[in-house]
């Protein structure tokens, strides 16, 4: 006898809720010099030069609802070296070597500038397709990677919430495992609900191994049963999801022209720096697959991709510059690949990290864990410009910035205006949306 998904997943979530270390669903590498979680792939659109998307007209929204692409920057991105208050004396004062001088940045407005490697994002800014939300954070900031990333992914500074902010939307809106897709091996907590979860899709081949006997047997044992345990049934359900997702994604990708290959996984790298030869790195490979699925017409409404390595306690400047370059190349290539056809006009991409870093550099040429940081929101129909106030560099909290915009207002906007659901399916009331879409 088969159980409903609800029955078995509640059991699994109950077991997970009882855990301490065991409840953490996913993390990614963040040490500088670490690769992103997925095997790197070199070929495809990610390797193209990184000029901004062409100046043509923005594709029209299709009216089918938006597509959200969430880019997680693991490790705590240094917001002050990303969106740079280059005219403020306190900026270079605290960072005599780590800071950038006025002739080393890409000025925007209001005394703020982009990191010099964010040239593609500057192009989107000039076209009015890049919103920059400043000073994003939450009250009583936590400086632990794990706790702060949990807070961002669950949208709950309170302890004990184990579901992700998109996972709760999944819980309320059906069973299809393709509604939300994480590209890469592990499934981040933001896509984990109590009842259902998004799917994780590897960047490499999706081919199932084995004979017909294995294929039919795998389908047969991937059925939750009444006598099964919570975790056992979750093993079975994951197998069923794999078969469903695998079949549908293979069909979708088969509809695309062969040009722009998915790339060939190059296997595990130990350095991260020399495995990804393309400018966009592993993030580019992940976004390449997202672009293909969107162009092929997948009805996925939320995608999750990630880039790690932002925990720059030491020798930050080169590492961070390289990561900025990868982010810029990957995002720029992604929008170029989407072009003007199909559902490109529905796409809204956001980047975030678990925290920014301390205003003043440490003696290691790096920065320690901080608080608020900027969030980028990009897409053909995003209303570009600044949102939220730039945090003060003089009124600090233990050496860290005070946040000016609660991150849950961004989530409320994404749920309400992009995915098209009442934000209260996932969030508490009291987080007004922002007008960037």
């Amino acid at each position: 006898m088969s159980l409903s998904r609800r029955q078995f997943l509640l059991g699994a979530a109950g077991a997970a809720a009882a855990g301490t270390a065991g409840v953490v669903l996913a993390k990614s590498p963040w040490e500088p010099g670490s690769p992103s979680p997925s095997p790197a792939a070199g070929a495809g659109a990610a390797a193209q030069p990184t000029s901004p998307p062409g100046p043509g007209p923005a594709p029209a929204p299709t009216g089918k609802g938006g597509i959200l692409v969430v880019v997680t920057l693991y490790g705590g991105n240094d917001g002050l070296n990303t969106l740079i208050p280059y005219q403020a004396g306190q900026y270079l004062g605290g960072r005599p070597d780590l800071g950038y001088k006025p002739d080393e940045v890409i000025p925007l407005d209001d005394g703020l500038a982009l990191h010099q490697n964010l040239k593609g994002l500057k192009g989107m800014w000039d076209q009015g397709r890049l919103a920059v939300v400043r000073g994003v954070g939450y009250p009583n900031p936590n400086r632990s990677h794990f706790r702060s990333m949990d807070i961002w992914q669950t949208a709950s500074p309170e302890n004990g919430v184990v579901t992700g902010w998109l996972g709760r939307w999944l819980d309320r809106t059906g069973d299809d495992p393709l509604r939300a897709v994480s590209v890469g091996d592990s499934l981040p907590r933001l896509l984990a609900g109590e009842r259902v979860a998004g799917s994780s899709v590897p960047v490499g081949s999706l081919t199932l191994p084995g004979s017909a006997a294995v294929a039919s047997g795998f389908a047969a044992l991937s059925r939750p049963v009444a006598s099964g345990s919570g975790l056992g049934n979750r093993v079975a359900q994951t197998g069923a999801d794999l078969l469903a997702v695998n079949g549908r994604i293979s069909e979708l990708l088969a509809t695309l022209p062969p040009a722009g290959s998915a790339g060939t996984p190059t296997g595990p790298g130990l350095d991260g720096t020399d495995e990804d030869t393309s400018a966009a790195g592993a993030l580019g490979t992940q976004l390449d697959l997202v672009a293909k699925l969107i162009k092929a017409g997948s009805d996925t409404k939320a995608y999750s991709v990630s880039l790690g390595g932002f925990d720059t306690h030491a020798n930050e400047k080169d590492t961070h510059a390289r990561l900025m370059g990868q982010l810029d190349a990957a995002v720029t290539a992604f929008f170029r690949q989407l072009g003007t056809d199909g559902r490109a006009g529905d796409v809204v991409l956001m980047t975030y990290s678990e925290f920014g870093r301390r205003v003043a550099a440490n003696a290691s040429g790096g920065t320690d864990h901080g608080t608020a940081g900027p969030v980028f929101v990009a897409g053909p129909h995003v209303k570009g410009g600044f949102y939220g106030d730039e945090p003060s560099l003089t009124d600090l909290d233990q050496g860290d910035l005070r946040f000016t915009t609660d991150f849950r207002s961004i989530y409320a906007t994404m749920l309400g205006q992009v995915i098209g659901v009442d934000p209260t399916v996932s969030l508490a009331k009291g987080f007004p949306p922002l007008p960037f879409v």
Binding site: V24, E31, S34, G228, L231, T238, V245
Partner: protein
């Protein structure tokens, strides 16, 4: 020191029907080791639960089979810069060799608990070769996890936290008197000894001051306290004020009262099932561990606790990929050898040795249950079944083959979905073995 607590527990765990005894001992072998082969299980059942616990937990016993495997040669990492491809290639190749060596130790181990503990501590004191670069430092840490992993917790914490691999990983060489780097100080308390909520941001800053100067000499790889970089002023750390030296900081954190609870929860969560805050079993174990911080005795108390054999515990863990692969190789009588494919498969399964995803180590349970890892498991199982000796299956009548697979893999039996799937594949022993290896009953620990 054996406390009354441990003795009480031993009495309660004694029991009952032969079938249940066999099932409990199989469960014990899965958790304390990498599963029991049929002959091992028969002998253990004859000896009884208590005697089997005693034997599996004898961490003083020699392990000639594992120790006969020489660690691979490692080359000091001396990359001239990011462009030094040759040094990187060497480090990569040696890390693969190191991974296979450890996997093989698990496959042949006669004291498998020693390797299980080393694996748990590898995730607890997570350190990655991706940043450390030098496989020799990773090997030295791995040996420390193995030799210290079943003893006194403070000795383990000192051995690992003050080891070269960890110091490189958490930027200790950049932790200087003039401007402390907080990386090691924060993770020492948050992840290694106390857990979040048991220290303040002030403790992080003061701990970083106390740890200044603890550095690795990049030429000799020796760890020393560099006096010129050590802040020898007074610090207020975890409620005490003194001119703490690096050793004192590690000792203060590792022997703080919250540490016993944190470590007991980790050990219970790793060998039994994840524990929640205020879990009474953890409180009970922590009380014993606070008096006697011996990891081996703590683990033994876990195996003898009545809660260890309840249905909730028996179905409360998913096998980590490394133990899944080691257990499968052991069950079908294969070795890791020099098969680098195994390391690629572990990477796809999400758990390449010496490469934890971050300083928090690998998460547990539902982390391993997603569609990508499900595909990787199916691929590993199919590849292994294609090479394995399946004579124990093919020699049985087709109708008996699912039961033979359960014996081979030390699984109590199959639930209805799996039984139907295996019955359908009974004519093809390799397909049957593939399916048995990905069945929920085997994927759970």
């Amino acid at each position: 020191m054996i406390t009354t607590l441990w003795l009480t527990v031993i009495v309660v765990a004694m029991d009952t029907s032969p079938a249940d005894l066999r099932s409990r001992i199989a469960h014990l072998y899965r958790r304390a080791g990498f599963g029991a082969r049929p002959d091992e299980l028969d002998a253990a059942v004859a000896a009884g639960y208590q005697a089997t616990v005693d034997r599996l937990c004898d961490l003083g016993a020699a392990d000639p089979a594992a120790d006969a495997l020489p660690p691979p040669k490692v080359t000091p990492y001396t990359a001239a810069g990011p462009a030094d491809q040759a040094a990187r290639q060497t480090a990569r190749r040696e890390t693969v060799a190191l991974s296979l060596w450890w996997l093989d130790r698990m496959v042949v181990a006669q004291v498998p608990l020693r390797e299980k503990l080393a694996l748990m501590w590898h995730s607890h004191f997570a350190t990655s070769v991706q940043k450390v670069k030098d496989p020799g430092l990773m090997l030295a840490q791995n040996q420390a996890l193995r030799t210290l992993g079943g003893g006194n917790f403070l000795a383990l914490a000192r051995g690992v936290v003050e080891g070269a691999a960890m110091l490189v990983y958490l930027d200790a060489n950049q932790n200087r008197k003039a401007s402390p780097n907080e990386n090691l100080s924060r993770e020492l308390m948050e992840l290694f000894t106390l857990g979040i909520g048991n220290y303040t941001e002030g403790d992080v800053k003061e701990g970083a001051r106390g740890l200044t100067g603890l550095m690795v000499n990049r030429q000799s790889l020796a760890v020393n306290v560099n006096k010129a970089q050590h802040d020898d002023g007074a610090k207020t750390y975890l409620g005490k004020t003194a001119a703490f030296a690096p050793d004192d900081i590690v000792a203060t954190a590792a022997t703080s009262p919250a540490s016993a609870t944190y470590v007991a929860a980790k050990v219970w969560g790793h060998f039994a099932r994840p524990a929640g805050p205020g879990d009474p079993v953890v409180a009970e174990l922590a009380a014993g561990f606070a008096k006697d911080p011996d990891i081996g005795r703590l683990v033994k108390a876990v195996f003898l606790h009545p809660e260890f054999v309840t249905p909730a515990t028996r179905t409360g863990l998913v096998k980590q990929p490394i133990e899944y692969v080691a257990g499968a190789l052991r069950a079908v009588g294969r070795r890791a050898g020099t098969d680098a494919t195994l390391v690629a498969q572990l990477t796809a399964l999400g758990q390449a040795p010496f490469q934890p995803p971050d300083v928090g180590g690998w998460p547990q349970n539902t982390y391993w249950l997603n569609t990508s890892f499900s595909l990787a498991r199916l691929r590993f199982a199919s590849a292994l079944a294609g090479k394995a000796d399946v004579s124990s299956l093919s020699s049985a009548a087709p109708a008996d083959r699912p039961a033979a697979a359960a014996r081979l893999l030390s699984v109590d039996g199959w639930g209805p979905s799996t039984a139907a799937a295996l019955a359908g594949a009974a004519g093809d022993p390799r397909a049957l073995l593939t399916l048995a290896l990905v069945a929920p009953e085997y994927v759970l620990a």
